[in-house]
């Protein structure tokens, strides 16, 4: 964990509407920032770009990542507090501005459409730099389970540098050598352990002291806060009902907009007709946007009632996709499985199967999925005297600012983005559709703050969906049951990475697969070949918690079970054999096997299934215990082991595993978006349901810590293994192999 590691930062430099891309190599210490970066309020002083101290003793940490439930504000603040030796209850967080020091470098590296093991990372970066999308991705963004990995070095340095600055002030005040001072719970003490001053008392004495960039950070054994289940900073407000989400933004004279998006993908608006009685009470204006009609009113309920009540007639041009049908798309994909031209091919091991091998084929499918964040989509904006202000639950303030400025025709320095708490993100809130809509309405009604809020129906029907996908495997089953199997797989599915840059920049698809849908599995197959076919099409697809892994883990891990069974081997034992040179994977697999009592007897009609997936730098293995009663699938227990390197906050890691499991289980048992006549057929929770309390399995999480392994992400890796673990358990319970999601027993 050297602080001098060089990282490549990509900055989007935007001038005159043109995108220029600035490249430079930055050291982590270049991200420290000076004392002017983090704006201080009355009674506060900034120590560097990341931390302020108040005279009241408060320590405020800049949080450039969005708090969407993953506890990131608390995890990031703990990195700073650790190095400062701060008292945890003094620590607060504040939304950070969209500035270079806060940019997420890790998300950029992780976003490469190449397997990390394939070539050196820097070579990958250079390759990826050639693609026209790169400029915008060096951004203040939250996703890819990258936040702690990105912040690990710069934020610990910020804490260490802040501590050093305060100690220099204390040494001057007491007339002693700085080296003799210690800090306990925000209090600076002299060599004899006597109090000199608290951090709060020192705040007024800093003068012109400047932060140093070459300050050592603690070694792993010295941590006091990292590794502890510290209470989360955001919890009390969320329990008292005072946490402010996007929908809770209230501004003087604010108006509300309800939205009807054109029902078909790619369709347009074609006017509207007002009722002869005129506008009802409270309705301010009906505004036609290119693909949506907005009713603006003094109340969202009034706006939505008028919009959906039937008095306002909306006219649509259904556009070129009026006949779009997901069943027809699925049929196309079946054809592409046979003869589609791969965009990417990857292979290793032997070129041909052994002469005595038998072949085992199977085809799997997964549907489109919506994100269904608990807080419906919204964005509040105000365009006033050439300045645009945006209040928004979002996963990338850089992107929102860029798109907001473009839509308003302003320079980016005239745009401010306030990131509220997010009522769920899961990838949906990295999208820029809401900000575009909100700013278009703000332009129509300048000087008035407007809150755009979508109904749940709009949310489900106008999402950027997890791509529908299918895979065709053929395994080589060697005659010698002790030999290792091989397989080939052809994968067909749209790619969010291919579409997303186009949505932001207004360009076409890049055609690249989602990087993590084509990651090589860790297994030592005798032969392995992947052909990825990336169809393009009008269905908008996006980043859905764990992205490509959300379906490829289901395909791979269920098929691996089929291979084990065809070879007459135990699914755990075969995985162990295939991982024998991967000690970290093995440790995680063994931990979950042991906790779950793998191999011990279960009641009738009950089965255990195992699955393992490495994603976002972490390794997760799960065992699901499933009971089948008639056609009902009951997931009773889930054991989950995670190896994510150093654990910053064990309580948050456990919570994220449970969360990822429920999200994946909701999809595996209920989730399916279908399209007919160019429009999504589902509309609200009654037909796009989620796991609820009564279906919640007991989850037991085991943390497999390894102090020398690189930090892994935790927000997403819990999701991929659950569907295959359940699928494999259903097979164990019933002998039925379900190869299509969501699971249905006939």
């Amino acid at each position: 964990m050297k602080l001098t590691r060089r990282k490549l930062i990509v900055g989007g430099v935007l001038g005159g509407g043109a995108l220029l891309v600035g490249w430079w190599f930055a050291k982590d210490r270049d991200r420290l920032g000076d004392r002017t970066v983090f704006k201080a309020r009355m009674g506060e002083v900034a120590l560097n770009g990341w931390v302020k101290v108040g005279r009241d003793g408060s320590i405020t940490v800049a949080a450039p990542r969005a708090e969407m439930g993953q506890g990131i504000h608390s995890a990031l603040a703990a990195l700073v507090a650790e190095e400062m030796d701060a008292k945890w209850s003094d620590v607060r967080v504040e939304d950070a501005a969209d500035l270079n020091v806060y940019r997420n470098v890790e998300i950029l590296i992780d976003g490469l459409p190449f397997s990390p093991e394939e070539t050196g990372r820097m070579i990958d970066v250079a390759k990826w730099a050639g693609s026209r999308v790169s400029g915008l991705l060096g951004v203040v963004a939250t996703g890819g389970s990258t936040s702690v990995r990105d912040a690990w070095e710069p934020m610990r340095l910020a804490g260490a540098s802040a501590r050093d600055l305060l100690l220099r002030a204390a040494a001057a005040k007491a007339g002693v050598d700085r080296k003799t001072l210690t800090v306990v719970e925000s209090e600076v003490r002299d060599a004899a352990g006597k109090k000199i001053a608290t951090y709060g008392e020192l705040a007024a004495t800093l003068g012109a002291l400047q932060p140093l960039r070459d300050v050592p950070v603690k070694k792993a054994g010295e941590f006091r806060l990292i590794g502890k289940p510290l209470p989360r900073i955001d919890v009390p407000a969320k329990v008292m009902g005072t946490a402010g989400y996007g929908t809770d933004v209230r501004l003087p004279d604010m108006l509300y907009a309800a939205i009807a998006n054109c029902p078909t993908f790619g369709g347009k608006t074609k006017g509207f007709s007002l009722p002869s009685a005129g506008l009802p009470k409270g309705i301010v204006k009906v505004i036609e946007l290119p693909t949506a009609i907005a009713v603006v009113a003094d109340s969202w309920w009034r706006a939505n009632k008028f919009l959906t009540g039937g008095d306002l007639r909306l006219n649509w041009d259904a556009g070129p996709n009026a006949g779009l049908d997901s069943r027809a798309i699925a049929a196309d994909y079946a054809g592409l499985l046979k003869d589609g031209k791969p965009k990417l091919t990857r292979s290793r091991g032997a070129d041909t199967p052994p002469a005595d091998a038998k072949f085992l084929p199977a085809t799997y499918t997964a549907p489109y999925l919506a994100h269904a964040t608990m807080e419906p989509m919204n964005c509040t904006s105000l365009l006033d005297r050439g300045a645009l202000t945006i209040w928004m639950p979002n996963q990338s303030s850089s992107l929102m600012r860029y798109v907001g400025a473009k839509e308003a025709g302003l320079d980016q320095d005239k745009v401010t983005v306030h990131t509220t708490y997010l009522g769920g993100g899961f990838g949906r809130r990295a999208e820029v559709d809401l900000v575009r809509q909100a700013v278009a309405l703000a332009k129509a009604l300048p000087g008035k703050p407007i809150q755009v809020l979508w109904s749940r129906e709009e949310d489900i029907q106008h999402d950027f969906y997890r791509p529908m996908a299918t895979a065709r495997f053929v395994a080589d089953i060697p005659a010698d049951p002790k030999a290792l199997p091989g397989w080939t797989v052809r994968l067909v599915g749209q790619s969010a990475s291919s579409q997303f840059p186009g949505r932001v920049l207004g360009i076409g698809e890049t055609g690249d697969p989602d990087g993590n849908s084509v990651e090589n599995p860790p297994y030592a197959f005798a032969r392995y070949r992947l052909d990825a076919i990336v169809p393009q099409g009008p269905v908008p697809v996006g980043f859905w918690r764990s992205v490509g892994h959300s379906h490829t883990a289901f395909f791979d891990e269920c098929f691996l079970d089929e291979v084990a069974i065809a070879m007459g081997r135990d699914p755990l034992e075969l995985r162990r054999a295939l991982l024998k040179d991967k000690p970290r994977h093995l440790a995680v697999l063994d931990a979950v096997a042991k906790a779950s009592g793998w191999g011990t007897p279960l009641p009738a009609a009950t089965g255990r299934g195992i699955a393992l997936r490495a994603s976002f730098g972490s390794i997760v293995a799960q065992v699901a215990e499933v009971a089948v009663e008639g056609r009902t699938i009951r997931v009773r227990k889930v054991f989950c082991a995670i190896g994510c390197g150093i654990v910053v906050n064990p309580a948050i890691v456990r919570a994220q595993m449970e969360s990822g499991i429920v999200y994946g289980l909701s999809a595996a048992l209920h989730g399916r978006i279908t399209i007919k006549g160019g429009a999504v057929e589902q509309a609200n929770f009654p037909d796009y349901d989620a796991v609820r309390m009564a279906d919640m399995p007991a989850v037991e999480t085991i943390l497999v810590e390894s102090k020398d392994a690189p930090l892994g992400g935790v927000g997403e890796p819990g999701t991929p293994p659950i569907a295959p673990a359940v699928g494999n358990a259903i097979f164990a319970a019933t002998g039925k192999r379900l190869r299509n999601l969501p699971f249905e027993l006939k």
């Binding site: 708090e67 969407m68 439930g69 993953q70 506890g71 289940p229 209470p231 989360r232 955001d234 919890v235 009390p236 407000a237 969320k238 329990v239 008292m240 009902g241 005072t242 946490a243 989400y245 929908t247 809770d248 209230r250 109340s299 969202w300 309920w301 009034r302 269904a372 964040t373 608990m374 807080e375 419906p376 708490y421 997010l422 009522g423 769920g424 993100g425 899961f426 809020l453 109904s455 749940r456 309580a651 919570a655 449970e658 969360s659 990822g660 499991i661 429920v662 999200y663 909701s666 609200n684 929770f685 009654p686 989620a690 796991v691 609820r692 309390m693 009564a694 919640m696 007991a698 989850v699």
Partner: protein, 153 residues
């Protein structure tokens, strides 16, 4: 004008009689702790108490609550923090937190009716959705709140 009691205070609301209580709270009364999730009584994010009964406020028009007593997350527990809220903090239940006011209101109504709820009671009373998947912590927190309330009594 419709008169009702909100968090112990009498309020006169000037709104359409068919306006759902959820939107009356959020728009007319400035009480934004109660959340909009689905609008069709399917998710429970909007749960409040109407005369002590857990109610999905998105689907109850204002005129149906005329003269009744409504409690929201802002008024839960009166002057002191409700045992459910204490337990929720102790067990660090929320993730994104958006669903939590609704869950806490549903849990508080359950605890009022059944001070020592079983797991089955929890399953049948707490049918809300949490997309972040905090169900396991919520279950523990309801049991913990039952203990805490017992100790307070």
């Amino acid at each position: 004008m419709v008169a009702l009691t909100i968090n112990g205070e009498r309020r006169d609301v000037d709104a359409e009689p068919d306006k759902p209580l959820l939107w009356v709270l959020r728009e007319n009364l400035g009480l934004v702790g109660t959340k909009f999730g689905c609008g069709v009584a399917a998710c429970g994010a909007c749960t409040v108490h109407v005369d002590g009964v857990a109610t999905r406020s998105c689907s109850v028009p204002l005129d149906q609550v005329a003269g009744k007593s409504v409690t929201t997350i802002e008024g839960l527990g009166g002057d002191r923090i409700h045992a459910a809220q204490l337990a929720w903090i102790e067990l660090q239940v929320p993730q994104c937190g958006y669903c939590q006011p609704g869950f806490i209101m549903a849990a508080a109504a359950l605890l009022a009716e059944k001070p020592k709820p079983t797991d089955a009671d929890i399953d049948s009373a707490l049918t809300n959705i949490c997309r972040c998947g905090t169900y396991q912590s919520i279950r523990k927190a309801v049991h913990r709140a039952a203990e805490m309330a017992g100790a307070r009594r």
